[in-house]
Symmetry: C2
Subunit: 166 residues, 2 copies
């Protein structure tokens, strides 16, 4: 995808996010954010500098090159798509959705990503973000009770209508 290791992508994403919220990014911030020690950051950053994705002057702040920014932005975007999916469809809480999204983001193929986007868009179109069947699924997850559409598709048109109201 990006020719970078998963870990380097993590560093790039972290820089991007920190830049948004803090304006300047220091080695120390990154270390804290990624839960590693400063020398580790220095090492990885030096690789990203060589790849032309990151700028930093000696003992100075860290920033993304335009190339690095574009890449980081797309990675973060992928992560956001995944998080939305996990939150909205799978009803994971924000933290767990984020964890899954962050870890998985490196590995999904472009088509898979595209399908995720489509799926979320589909939800929007077909039920303003939450079509009926999704409510049924959430109910199923929480209670284990089979969804009402079960009955619908087995019995009468009358009941189908009832289900739709559900």
């Amino acid at each position: 995808m990006s020719n970078l290791s998963a870990r380097s992508e993590d560093y790039l994403k972290a820089i991007f996010k920190l830049q948004e919220e803090k304006k300047v990014v220091r080695v120390k911030d990154l270390a804290q954010c990624l839960d590693v020690r400063s020398p580790t950051v220095v090492g990885v950053i030096s690789g990203l500098k060589e790849s032309g994705l990151v700028d930093q002057e000696h003992y100075g702040y860290i920033s993304l090159t335009s190339e690095g920014d574009a890449l980081a932005r797309s990675l973060v975007q992928n992560e956001d798509i995944l998080r939305s999916f996990f939150e909205e469809v799978f009803s994971l809480d924000s933290e767990e959705a984020g964890l899954n999204a962050c870890n998985i983001e490196h590995y999904i193929t472009p088509t898979c990503r595209e399908r995720l986007v489509s799926f979320i868009k589909f939800l929007e179109i077909c039920g303003r973000g939450s079509p009926k069947w999704l409510g049924h699924f959430r109910h199923f997850v929480l209670t284990g009770e089979p969804p009402p559409c079960d009955r619908c598709s087995e019995i009468l048109p009358v009941d189908e209508k009832a289900c739709e109201k559900d």
Copy 2:
């Protein structure tokens, strides 16, 4: 999850799968399957032996201990769940679904896995594997045309019924 690196999990899964189809597993088979050289396999396997997950006598065949077998089975099962999801819900072709599943399997949290299982079960219950909305989604993915349920939920009960027939 398993306290093992993602890569070690790959080796374990590969042994499990090869064992199913070939009965005996050799270093060479694993090397081919994982696209690495024999010495690499020997190195990783030696770690798995120390962890008590794999058995092998000197210059002999490789097999899973009962512990290794149990672990590998659960990993492969997770992978299968993901593949089903990608194939059935996202309409990815078999190969791409497998690729995503294999790469992602290491990273999903237990709750996320559970939701995947629930989701697939939900599809089974609510439409014998393929409820109407899923057909609509597939159509949406292929053509970009908005799903009919869009119209349904905006207009009249009569049309709702029409949608259900769709």
